[in-house]
Symmetry: C2
Subunit: 506 residues, 2 copies
């Protein structure tokens, strides 16, 4: 038997997926836990990935007429209380500001002082504070639609946190729109869902299932919540973005009214929609391998690292000249309307460099030594291929081909993820088979189970709750292109009018 | 006597500068007060100005090797206490989080619950939380310099707030760097000061005086604070950006040590530097006139608005076709490496449109009606000229000239601001003349006083404090290119070794 190759990440995904994730994040140098409970520090390599996602998404938003603005971090308690379901949903996880200064106590230590008359909640989401602004900005149908987005930090005091996936503070965008008609608001809700699906599939190389949430899973205060759902390599689902049709719930809570063309006073119809730094967790868990993170080129923190290789200082001068010239040339090329992002790693730390970049997930590594230069060649390794698979290519050919190579990697990552999704998605009928599918094969690895199951459901909260209780499996969504074959609920056997997507989820 | 023309802003700057400012902000639609004490809502027109400032500055930072990251919003109380002067400086204005959920009380109302064992402060600045991260990231001279920046919101609970200039929450960037040597840290401090000066002068068209702060005005915990100081039209100073040399104060507080090339353990030397949404207030107060805001083209929210003018629907179709074609053509032109930002205002609200854009401060307004089209012309008004001064120009010539026209406006705004600064900056000797200079001519307008005074100061806290007490005048900075003529302190008459910059300030 061939000796198994050591991997850069210990444990492997197979051995312990959850720990593999923590290690992959750590060794990629993208983020780390902070001393503040549940909060993370996003390090430069992780933050630039986020910046690239922001740029792409921001352009897509603006193309549909959305404008950015900024609203207060703090929400007066009374605002949150205006929408009953909303406050119910967020009350258990709110950071509350109660004082506005610090004072020395008798022991010389600092204690909160200057109590506020009304406590302020650090925004967990901004429907109520933005709703208040909208009620001032909108008076006539001429002011509609109002299409606003903000890039911001939000805080939800989570009890069990996991870096990028569930943190007490995270970065996100939240879009908020107001419309004169129900139809138009629903169209906007779906338009934004489609933009999220496009971001996920075309940029993050993550195939998605679009669907509607059940009553019990929807956003607190929404009439309908739509989401994009993705599958991770441990076969669990990840909700990667949500778009909410809020009906007139928040319009009524915040008194957002307008005078219609027919001169009648009416409540507006609103939507809200968001994605967050959670997407970074999704990228890692979709594409990563046992050597660490793999970044999809269209949003990668950097596209390519040039690694000069030399022994003598004579060699060094020659190699560096070649490398810098190549770097300059590539930096001025465009990959999908963005300049190619190039690193030159000239640190004097020997062979460890290559492995560092593998763990960071950079799409292309290019080694250049005196022998390559003699042949006017470069030595290329793609992150989507086994790490030893390197090819020599003429320098000019490389400069000509790099954009195509990046595209190939992008497509390859998407195809791989799509195959994984298809292999692990099944249609299941019958309770026994359904329960079997979601029972781990191996007790030592309870997290590795069946995958995505499209199964029949009677539509009741009871069956949904029982399945959740029994298997920790939830209805991820009722797919938008729902298969409407008739069948029987996998829980109670009563008739069902269509299959829904079941999975364990983050 | 000619009848005075009505202005768009009431009162005028002359009548009541402070109220003029509030009205100019309001009528520009850039921002408004929020229901949260001291916090503002930045509306799309204000936010896109901020986005443009961010883009320019972010590029400048990155060109010097700085990388962006993100650190927690919350700072444990114990962290803040690590640097004595620092906590002293911020304790009086901290928003303090003491609870992590909300619970219903007996009356059914919500109250804070889940008390935290250690209160968290909403960051007023991040030296201590970033210092903690640095202490983990740095172990060897090879890790230095470490050059980090974050774009973030911060909270300082101000008692008297004024939109953009002093708000409880504001947006800013804070750069934090660590270096192996004192010299290198000081060089970085000055490099960033120079970048701020370049941003202010070349982009915001605001001439600055660069200098060092006195002991009493420096950042809490800094060894030296440098700033750029600008003059507003009411002749008060505005501190527009600061760069701090922190010595080893925060390195010692957070135990940021490294092993030197000589294998000795040493503390790093750190710097921090920031500018904020306050810059927007500076732009308004530097360039605005009695018709409202005037935006410098290089950061303007938009560069040009095309205003179609028509009566009949036949005209409308013809005019709109012409306008849209012109719009498309201009949108693809570049002004200083950025695409030209174009608005088309086709709202059916008649003549009010032109005035709205004047108040918003857009650099160029272009009116296009059937008669212009017949001549293949457009009718252009520049915001830096009197509002009636409009010129007709051939369409193609306009498309060819627009970049030059924007540059002319940019230069014109800078020249105007520079003349104002020069006219209102004097060298003053002698206490009597100094006191007279800063005494308002008119008791009804205490805010209009002398301006910037370069005067001698003995260097003591006492004289500085007395002048502040007597006149509300502070030492804005000790200019970097200090005039070293000998003289006598304007307060006590003792010898002084150079002039410093005195002014009333925001």
């Amino acid at each position: 038997m061939e000796k198994e190759e050591k991997t850069a990440i210990t444990p492997t995904r197979e051995e312990d997926y959850s720990e593999w994730y923590q290690q992959a994040v750590k060794l990629s140098d993208m983020a780390e836990r902070s001393p503040v409970r549940g909060c993370m520090v996003i390090k430069p390599w992780g933050y630039s990935l986020w910046e690239n996602i922001v740029h792409e998404l921001d352009d897509m938003f603006k193309d549909t007429g959305v404008k950015n603005a900024y609203f207060p971090l703090f929400i007066p308690l009374g605002f949150l209380e205006k929408e009953a379901a909303h406050v119910e949903g967020f009350a258990k996880e709110c950071a509350v500001v109660t004082h506005h200064r610090l004072e020395k106590n008798d022991g010389g230590g600092l204690v909160p002082a200057g109590p506020l008359t009304e406590p302020l909640v650090v925004r967990p989401t901004s429907e109520t504070i933005i709703g208040d602004a909208f009620s001032n900005w909108i008076s006539s149908y001429r002011d509609l639609p109002l299409l606003i987005n903000q890039w911001a930090n939000v805080v939800r005091w989570e009890m069990r946190t996991r870096i990028f996936l569930r943190t007490s503070e995270f970065l996100w965008q939240e879009g908020h729109t107001a419309h004169a008609t129900e139809t138009e608001a629903m169209e906007r809700t779906k338009l934004m869902l489609n933009i999220y699906a496009r971001l996920a599939e075309e940029y993050l190389a993550m195939p998605v299932t679009k669907g509607r949430k059940t009553e019990s899973e929807k956003f607190p205060g929404a009439v309908e919540t739509f989401s994009i759902e993705t599958i991770m390599q441990d076969k669990k689902g990840l909700q990667a973005g949500t778009s909410h049709f809020l009906g007139q719930n928040f319009a009524k809570a915040s008194e957002i009214k307008f005078q219609s063309f027919e001169e009648k006073e009416e409540y507006v119809w609103t939507t809200s929609w968001g994605v967050s730094t959670r997407l970074i967790g999704g990228i890692i868990m979709t594409h990563g391998d046992d050597n660490g993170v793999i970044l999809p080129p269209r949003v990668a923190s950097s596209h390519v690292v040039l690694i000069p290789i030399y022994r003598s200082s004579d060699d060094k001068a020659k190699v560096m000249e070649f490398v810098e010239k190549l770097g300059l040339e590539i930096k001025n090329l465009f990959y999908h309307h963005r300049k190619i992002r190039v690193e030159i790693d000239d640190r004097d730390i020997g062979g460890a460099k290559g492995w560092e970049w593998i763990k960071k997930g950079i799409p292309l590594r290019v080694e250049i030594g005196p022998r390559d230069i003699a042949k006017d060649s470069v030595y290329i390794a793609r992150r989507d291929k086994p790490h030893r698979e390197k090819i020599s290519m003429k320098r000019d050919q490389f400069a000509k081909e790099i954009v195509n190579i990046l595209d190939e990697i992008q497509n390859n990552l998407y195809e791989k993820a799509l195959s994984f999704k298809e292999e692990n998605t099944v249609s299941i009928d019958g309770g026994a088979r359904f329960y079997e599918f979601f029972t781990p094969l191996n007790k030592d690895k309870p997290e590795i189970h069946g995958g995505f199951a499209f199964s029949h459901w009677c539509g009741t909260n009871e069956c949904e709750a029982k399945i959740k209780e029994d298997l920790s499996v939830t209805i991820r969504c009722i797919p938008l292109n729902q298969n409407t074959d008739k069948g029987k609920c996998v829980c109670c056997g009563r008739p069902s009018s269509g299959r829904v997507l079941f999975a364990k989820a983050y």
